[in-house]
Symmetry: C2
DNA sequence: CGGTCTTTTGAGTACAATCAAGGGTTGTGG
DNA sequence: CCACAACCCTTGATTGTACTCAAAAGACCG
């Protein structure tokens, strides 16, 4: 059913769009060649499962394009998103096989995958690669902790405003009005925000009626005044949640 | 080799209770001496502020004893705990000066502090130290994400049961009935769980009336049947939240 | 065009927050 | 040793936000 399978022969690292931001950012020359030799590309369609919760993972990977979600679930089916992977983000845990959360494609996703064992070996022999991964992991830890504040203390309206601000900021090229396509369904937004889809929908409507955003279909989003929207998010005015 | 005795004022690493679990776990001989040369001990009383939110941090540290909390706040004063530091946990972020959250002593806390610059230099030259820190950071990331599930999806009763189970499990030596002293005030528990102190108090009472726990004063806690308590937490029966 | 899936809207409910007292414990000074 | 203050915790009454259940409207696709 898939259209063109983008898992072509693996592209050249030199032309890679995430080359300077991903885990391989500090690698050059020989190091880069070693990584290139163990890499392989693979794509998933929106909605497809990449890794099941608790499943062993034979690879680690960089997100090349698209958007994937990390989720954890309770026995009775309640689900919480615990991370959102965007291009250049790293997936996997060197040194441990089992993934403690499920990974699902939110949009079409392409991963640049490395054999886990080979990657672990290279990390030991290439300290700056381990250093780069440490840096990225600490950033993710900060992001996760920021999100704990959102989950634990913000109202539904603030949560939705926070997420929309985040999406618009990422899409922003200093254009006005700002425009973006939401990479998430209402269900995924609800899972991220610790809300139900009905509540997300109601808050989106409320923000629209308040003139803070405009909706074009279910996914299109635009905003004339990002500062006004950010003011609804409950953060300080500059409101930057690093992600 | 060199038994540099700069640790006159500070205890000997060999006798350190967290020696084998902290960031220094993989260091021996020269490496350990180098760390010992840059370390210094300092203690804080319960309630004292160790680092303000956003403040620059000149050191990194291991928690030797006691319990400290990491919190983030919204402008209007709403506060969320984003981490709980127990003995052997690492505090600080190599490569970045500003702490994105406040650090407060929950009980009396003793830190083994290292000058941040010196520690960073050593990390570059001692790959296994960086590797150890990466491992610890990834564990913390997993713990933070586990907690996102608690904050986003659990009921008040489940949240409290989760925390009490956690505390009892940590204190456990396979004794029955299990007993522990809560290292947190109701306020700190509420901050951790994303609840108000009143709700925490009510749920503690409810769990007590259900015969799941016994309370001895405000801090004493005991439990005959940890499995029954864990069953209230909403996790799968084995219910282990790694921390 | 019909079918499925997603999103929106509505009505009613429940759970935790808020507001408000009232106990307990601890420590200090008379 | 007692009185008192400060702090922490508990309990009660009420409110309000977000959830649940239910149905309709809109998007997408063959």
């Amino acid at each position: 059913m898939s259209r063109i399978d983008l898992s072509l022969a693996t592209p050249d690292c030199a032309a890679c769009p995430i080359r300077h931001r991903a885990v391989c950012a500090t690698c050059e020359g020989e190091d880069l060649a070693r990584l290139a030799a163990m890499k392989s590309y693979r794509s998933w369609q929106a909605g497809e499962t990449i890794v099941l919760e608790g499943e062993a993972l034979a690879f680690v990977a960089s997100v090349v394009e698209g958007c994937a979600t990390l989720t954890r679930s309770l026995e009775d089916g309640r689900m919480q998103m615990v991370g959102l992977l965007m291009p250049s983000d790293f997936l996997g845990r060197p040194g441990r096989a089992a993934a403690p959360y499920a990974v699902t494609a939110a949009t079409k996703v392409t991963l640049c995958m490395f054999d886990r064992r080979a990657f672990e070996r290279m990390m030991v022999e290439t300290p700056h690669l381990a250093g780069r991964l440490l840096e990225m992991s600490l950033d993710e830890l900060d992001a996760a902790r920021d999100w704990m504040l959102v989950l634990g203390r913000k109202t539904a309206r603030e949560k939705v405003a926070t997420l929309l601000t985040l999406v618009l900021r990422r899409a922003s090229v200093a254009d006005r009005p700002l425009r973006a396509e939401l990479p998430l369904t209402r269900e995924a937004m609800a899972a991220y925000l610790g809300l139900t889809i009905e509540t997300v929908s109601r808050q989106m409507t409320a923000l629209r009626k308040a003139g803070l955003i405009r909706l074009e279909g279910a996914r299109g989003l635009s905003c004339d005044d990002l500062a006004a929207l950010a003011a609804e998010s409950g953060d300080d005015e500059d409101g930057a949640l690093p992600v």
